[in-house]
Point group: C2
Chain length 201, copies 2
Amino acid sequence: MPKQVDHAARREEIAQAALRLCARDGLAGVTIGQVAQEAGVSKGLVQHYFAGKADLLRASAHVLRGEIERHILEAVRDARGPADTLRRVLLAVVELGVTAPIPLLAGHAFLARAVADPEIRDLYRAGGDAVHREIAALLAASAPAPDVDPGAEAHALLGLARGLSDGVLLGDLGVGDAAAIVDHHLRRILPGAAIGSDSPS
Amino acid sequence: MPKQVDHAARREEIAQAALRLCARDGLAGVTIGQVAQEAGVSKGLVQHYFAGKADLLRASAHVLRGEIERHILEAVRDARGPADTLRRVLLAVVELGVTAPIPLLAGHAFLARAVADPEIRDLYRAGGDAVHREIAALLAASAPAPDVDPGAEAHALLGLARGLSDGVLLGDLGVGDAAAIVDHHLRRILPGAAIGSDSPS
DNA sequence: GATATCACGATACGGTCGTATTGCAAAAAG
DNA sequence: CTTTTTGCAATACGACCGTATCGTGATATC
């Protein structure tokens, strides 16, 4: 057998380039030729690793999902308990607007496709559901106030974080402001937990 | 002078078709030819009313802004007071996911462009700021709880509504669930006001 | 009614799209 | 060293893109 390369790695590399174009020019800018140029490879190579444009976009969507998952997992790596973990997850989502605008924008680009494409839709919903379940579980484990319904509150918190991330992305509000808003809501929901700085002035 | 037509009306008509394509296929699907077909006119006519694709997209963005504004104004037409108005505004944003997915999706499509294009960015931010100021004013006029900062709370409510609208759009949660979440938060912020049904069971 | 002006359609053109096809260098297997 | 399989580049081709240009019919003015 001839020389061997890591197919999966190459595919992900190219898909990352596709996501970068996604973020810059929207889904419109994802072109075989442009992707090849962005990835620094030949147009033919992109063809070699992807059956077609649909395959490329599908793979990019999966890479995107992994990218966001990695980002969140990294944020909660050394959390100090369920309440702190919950806070870090929400802040990680909010801060996507400044620390990882590419996955955030690419996600928005794929959102439009998710309405029509069942596969993208399922992918999108599966990711959202996973975060939702995680938030609900963390919420239930964080000694919430008695009137808090973990499922509904998880939707509220995730919706809040996602909505704020757009504001942060466009500069409508700073990460500090957004973090303060998240912390404020967490303090109300989790009256017993210490949210944010250990010594809230 | 030859026959006269309402230029502004024709432009808006074509721009509406462009927004429809925006929502269906993302910003990628906005093509002079496709827009012409969607609007039921000839390709040359689109050229006649728009200097180019950039002009078309610019006009579409402005039409989109007006569309969302109209949608919200319609929702608050016969509100019964500041608290009810505030609730209707937020629910109108949330319900965009089901009652007006086209403006919502088109808005998402333009979000990516807003990062790079200053004009779209200003348009986007101006609209967001207007809604934010309105929400803050309604909040201040609705006898809020003493610990509520109208500016920050307006960001929170708007972020929450926008985040929930995406969930509603994809079917992650129903409008009823989203409305309940919004109402729940409003009841906490506005302890004295009657939120939602007149007789909360 | 002649005429200038505008709405609108049709066509043309260079460029880029996605995809198919071909050619070649490199390396493991014999 | 030969062979065979794979990685990858290059080119070709039809379709469609955005834009420019020209042609035509209708209408308000003179």
